[in-house]
């Protein structure tokens, strides 16, 4: 063996070595090419569309400049969608974070049956938004759901018809969305709490801090990275929220629960306003990237060195 390899001329072994050198890149290339085309190429395509006068089909013969964006921001449905996104995301993020943190802190008190409760809090995350939507749509439906139940229990004056009221319908979507995601936020906080260095807490106890003070002054401030992660994940989900709205209200009553994602779909494929649809998608992407890019940058940049 030794004889063989050492006397083999370099020219013979070199081509094999270079093939081995190239192999990793050959393996990676298809995936990377697909991502480049299907993600970044398509983003550019959509960006071009948003400056074109496309209606039913992509049409690059007429250029309208920023006209689609101007029309977009003057369109009442888009304004409704933005308002709804603001209401929805603020409530969704705040309530999920609050419930998630509270449940995590409570569960972290050496609770008997934690192993039983935790999966219950978390299982909605495994469901499709469509399933969640169906469940809550009918449960909140005045005809058969909660209102009907309360009245049949003798509370005749009970009224809960938010899902049918233009002003309030968006809040029912918040309820369903919080139901689906808060358990997951709980899991994130729980992992964070379990990672807190015991000795810090012991030191605080020796310093005479009360349980409440320890949580308020030491543990919750330590959860900063979890708050950040939760915020990013929830904001990302909120901006993309589409399925749940479709399943629960399909944007109704009227256009009361339109979100940007719904707007994009309805204008592009329903109303043949492809240019405006593309513009709305670009705005959505900019919103998400405004949140994600700095986050990824700090997460990855901080790790590297």
């Amino acid at each position: 063996m030794a004889e063989l390899t050492t006397t083999a001329p370099r020219a013979v072994t070199n081509p094999r070595a270079t093939l081995q050198d190239l192999l990793p890149k050959i393996v990676l290339a298809p995936s990377f090419a697909l991502i480049l085309i299907f993600v970044y190429g398509f983003i550019i395509f959509t960006a071009f569309l948003s400056f074109s006068g496309s209606k039913l089909l992509p049409d690059f013969s007429t250029w309208v400049g920023l006209n689609n964006y101007v029309r977009l921001f003057n369109h009442p449905n888009w304004i409704t969608a933005l308002k709804n996104l603001a209401i929805f995301s603020v409530l969704y993020i705040v309530i999920c974070s609050f419930i998630g943190l509270a449940l995590a802190i409570f569960l972290d008190q050496k609770i008997r049956g934690e192993g039983f409760l935790r999966p219950i809090y978390l299982y909605p995350m495994a469901l499709s938004f469509i399933v969640t939507g169906v469940a809550w749509k009918w449960f909140l439906d005045p005809g058969i759901g909660l209102e009907h139940v309360m009245q049949s229990w003798g509370w005749e004056s009970f009224s809960f018809r938010w899902i049918k009221e233009g002003q309030m319908a968006i809040y029912t979507i918040v309820i369903a969305a919080v139901w689906q995601s808060s358990g997951f936020v709980m899991a994130m906080f729980l992992a964070g709490l379990r990672g807190v260095d015991n000795e810090i807490i012991k030191a605080a106890q020796i310093d005479g801090a009360s349980t409440l003070t320890i949580y308020r002054r030491i543990i919750i401030p330590l959860m900063r990275p979890v708050f950040l992660s939760a915020f990013v994940v929830l904001a990302h989900l909120a901006i993309k929220s589409y399925d749940l709205v479709v399943a629960m209200t399909d944007g109704g009553p009227g256009t009361a629960t339109w979100t940007p994602a719904l707007f994009m779909q309805k204008f592009t494929f329903g109303r043949n306003e492809m240019g405006m649809g593309a513009a709305s998608a670009i705005i959505m992407m900019m919103m998400i990237f405004a949140i994600i890019v700095p986050y990824l940058y700090s997460e990855l940049g901080g790790k590297k060195k």
Binding site: S31, P119, S128, I130, A135, W138, I201, V232, M285
Partner: protein
């Protein structure tokens, strides 16, 4: 690990602990309520839902809604039930999960063990692709599928799901293999193992947990997808989520709530079973997807 928080807890009074338990149980009820409503009412005749109480147990138990949801309910124009759509989803999910997982594993392997100039940029671009709102690729995707003749086919959906899952699968495997000792790869190189031999013989045997995490993550996401399904499916390739939405939101006929609930549970069942069987891995995937690096 929570010994310290236990110490904290022991100083709480009995009252505080009772309160904590009450809150925890209350929330358990909140999370279980919709599931309970769905199950209970899927086993009732329709009249009992309309006249009775949604929270009450069935007075007259029936599995007719389930049978209807599975095989006879009117979806679109066909009285086929959800069965064909369930099969569509299966045929879409299995290859899409397999494809994206295998590619993700290879990508992660290359990006950690065969580093090259610019590999961080490649990874960064793949990572960022996880987070794009898919609305931005809907129009060009539809066009590509149309041009390649894959519009409205299950193959087209498989392709789309596999591609847009690549970012996450690559992320999962990269982070996992990052912690895998590079010296093992070097030792195998000296032993003369080739690129694929090292992957198959050295890395893969230790990749069990991350494969499970990735497969569960991809399975859940693709099974539960609605956006791509509703945008790209044709008459013969509609996935289950889209069919369920059609069933529930069809404007014609009597609203058969019990059938809707049965259908919703049918649609949720595969992912729920996965969750119950391997919740640990499911949560790990969620975390890995949320907390990067």
């Amino acid at each position: 690990m929570s010994a310290a928080s236990q110490d904290v807890a022991t100083r709480n009074g009995i009252f505080a602990r009772a309160l904590i338990y009450a809150v925890l149980i209350l929330f358990a009820v909140y999370y279980l309520l919709p599931l309970y409503v769905m199950v209970v009412n899927s086993l009732k005749p329709l009249d009992e839902i309309r006249q009775g109480n949604m929270l009450a147990l069935p007075q007259q138990w029936t599995i007719a809604p389930w049978l209807s949801a599975w095989s006879t309910a009117q979806i679109g124009v066909q009285p086929t039930g959800l069965k064909p759509y369930f099969l569509n989803s299966v045929m879409m999910v299995v290859p899409a999960v397999a494809l994206s997982t295998i590619l993700g594993a290879l990508n992660g392997y290359v990006l950690t063990k065969w580093r090259f100039k610019g590999d961080n940029i490649v990874f960064g671009l793949m990572l960022l692709a996880c987070f794009i709102p898919f609305q931005i690729v809907l129009i060009p995707s539809a066009r590509i599928l149309g041009m390649t003749g894959l519009a409205g086919t299950i193959t087209g959906l498989v392709l789309i799901h596999a591609i847009y899952g690549l970012g996450f699968t690559t992320l999962f495997f990269r982070n996992y293999y990052e912690a895998f000792p590079t010296e093992l790869v070097r030792a195998a190189q000296i032993d003369g193992a080739s690129f694929f031999q090292i992957f198959r013989r050295i890395l893969l045997p230790s990749s069990g947990p991350i494969i499970v995490v990735t497969v569960i993550w991809q399975f859940t996401n693709i099974w539960n997808d609605f956006l791509f399904g509703s945008s790209f499916s044709g008459f013969n390739s509609i996935p289950l989520t889209v069919a369920l939405n059609n069933l529930v939101n069809s404007s014609t006929g009597v609203k058969e709530y019990n059938v809707h609930f049965a259908g919703a549970i049918l649609a949720a069942l595969p992912t729920l079973i996965v969750y119950i069987v391997s919740g640990r891995y499911f949560v790990r995937g969620l975390m890995a997807g949320a907390v990067k690096g």
